[in-house]
Amino acid sequence: MTGDGVRLLAPDGTRVPHPEHSIDLSPEELRSLYRDMALARRFDAEGVTLQRQGELGLWPSLLGQEAAQVGSVRALRDDDHAFPSYREHAVALGRGMDPLALLRLFRGVDHGDWDPAEHRFHLYTLVIGSQTLHATGYALGLAKDGSESAVVAYFGDGATAQGDVSEAFNFAAVYGAPVVFFCQNNQWAISESNERQTRVPLHQRARGFGFPGVRVDGNDVLACLAVTRWALERARRGEGPTLIEAFTYRMGAHTTSDDPSRYRDAAEVESWRAKDPLLRLERLLRAEGASDDAFFAATEAAGEELAARVREGVRSMAAPGVHELFDHVYAEPHALVDEERAAFDVYRAAFVQEG
């Protein structure tokens, strides 16, 4: 299991048979996967644009990782839970999240304040790897409840170096927690390539903790869906965790603050362009007659509509009120916060008066 990993759809859009992970999808389902990827890509591009226009402070682009995210999230049942890192915009959309919720975070209006219970999509986590333990704990909770729901934890190739991720692997293995560790290996952790993070392919890490690790072609949405579904079923059956390494590529900069020309070759990026996840599904759809130009035009139009809605939403976002500073530090009354809030009010009142 080296090279590109489990693959069901080749870059040229032809299907590839696989002994274990075949999948049977209707044309409608295939179109819907394409549509989700296309909308995610358009949304993401709008994020980059809005940042360039000064509307956002930062944007971490998912460009190139649409298949990994859309395929994996499609495998989740409604009652399953996703624990993202900070680049899982397509996963968010796949869970039904309001895209503006993500943008509020990157605009600096809040820290990402959605209710995880609403879409079983947890908070973005910026401290690399932390959320893998939360996901494991959540999965333990589900198991204790006797629930058949499962959890997917998203993280990057760089994250695998963090002690927390190894501890999550071990806790999940020891307790047999129903959690799928979904690593998007986009080849880069900011400027550091895989060789700085690991000596061997990442999916191999799992074996040493006592559970299976699988590499999947992360630009193949069918394979990502099939393998994640398989891993979730294992989890539901009480067979414990699985590590999925989705072998993909970060086509853009790490974030809008980054300048990848300092550390990687254009040729490498170019070589991955040929493996584009949308293009290959488009080829399949066209080859199998599952969609025509009208479908693609409609999808594009839907993308533009989403982008316009998002643009408009960002521009009209209310700034947070100053009391937001104090209002949610604690769940219960807290004398010090109350005192500081009161002093701040006095200060502001005086200040407004004076000036």
């Binding site: 219970a117 939360h134 916060v337």
Partner: protein
């Protein structure tokens, strides 16, 4: 007694450890969502036996021996809390909480604010802390300032068996994360505990444990008993010290200290933790600001030195014992 607790007919005399055990037992019995997690808390009952018998009575699913990884323990406790449980984590010794510090500071403390109140994390982190037990390195430290500076956490420490019982119950009841510091050198000291529901106090506020007029002596956790001794000695010399047990280190009940200092005009703060950037600094700064014109002497602090906790044969010199507290009191009275 399987998963149940008996409500006693009246107050009992128990050790601080037994009071903590009773509080955990009551919480486990009352709320099926309460879980205990930690190293060696199951069959062993914890290295101090605080969880003695609880795994036997409530099962391995509720009293979980975990892998030896503090970040993993706190991180999975956060996940369990997200899924509706109320985990009570035991860290084996004060010096071993630091592998979990990242999860505590960047996740546990912040998730309520991050989600603007949509996520609550009712996680209690129990830590036996402080010195005076003749232990090896990392087993005698007082890290409270490192938690108190972090917004989103509550930090408390009981001084008596009764407070141990009720404050731990309160910590488990709270929807905020609580760092619960247990004064390990007082574990086997006894006191009266009234576990009847009617005796339940509210959230911990500072308590005047001895009234006096000449000077206010503030402490918490293991130093409260030391300060009471100091007050007794001082009384023989004709000085009436008022001793306040803070109970909560974050937030601090400044009103209670303030009230006392306005009467006595003098304040000494005692803790085991190093003085530099310790709780005494915060208390001195704030009370001086509030009571500037009532203070007849500068607030004095007595505590650990700016050194690592020493080898045990030196701990009597390091710890602020009776004599060092009295020395500070004398200096404050003389000023």
């Amino acid at each position: 007694m399987t998963g149940t607790t008996s409500t006693p007919a009246g107050p009992e005399r128990t050790t601080l450890v037994a009071a903590l055990n009773a509080a955990l037992r009551a919480a486990l019995a009352e709320d099926p969502r309460t879980l205990l997690m930690g190293e060696d808390i199951g069959r062993l009952g914890g290295v101090f036996r605080v969880t003695d018998g609880l795994q036997k009575d409530f099962g391995e699913g509720r009293v979980m021996d975990t892998p030896l990884a503090e970040s993993g323990i706190v991180g999975t406790a956060i996940g369990l809390a997200l899924s509706g449980y109320r985990p009570v984590v035991e860290i084996q010794f004060d010096g071993f909480v630091f592998p979990a510090y990242d999860q505590i500071v960047t996740q546990l403390a912040k998730m309520h604010a991050r989600s603007r109140g949509k996520v609550r994390l009712p996680v209690v982190i129990r830590i036996p802390y402080g010195g005076g037990i003749g232990a090896v390195e990392h087993h005698s430290e007082s890290p409270e300032a490192l938690f108190a500076h972090v917004a989103g956490l509550r930090v408390m420490s009981p001084a008596t068996p009764s407070d141990a019982y009720w404050m731990l119950r309160e910590a488990i009841r709270s929807d905020d994360p609580v760092v619960f510091l247990e004064p390990k050198r007082r574990y086997y000291e006894k006191g009266e505990v009234d576990r009847r529901p009617a005796a339940r106090p509210g959230p911990p506020r500072a308590r005047v444990v001895r009234e006096g007029t000449d000077l206010t002596l503030v402490a918490y956790g293991p130093m409260v008993a030391t300060c009471l001794n100091a007050a007794a000695v001082a009384a023989e010399e004709g000085h009436e010290l008022e001793v306040i047990d803070l109970r909560s280190i974050s937030p601090i009940d400044f009103d209670a200290v303030d009230r006392s200092v306005r009467r006595t005009g003098r304040l000494v703060v005692a803790h085991e933790a190093p003085v530099f950037f310790g709780a005494g600094a915060e208390i001195a700064a704030r009370i001086t600001e509030r009571c500037f014109y009532h203070l007849e002497a500068p607030v004095l602090r007595v505590g650990g030195f700016h050194t690592p906790y020493p080898p045990s044969r030196l701990e009597d010199e390091y710890l602020p014992g009776l004599d060092r507290v009295l020395d500070a009191v004398d200096r404050a009275l003389a000023a």
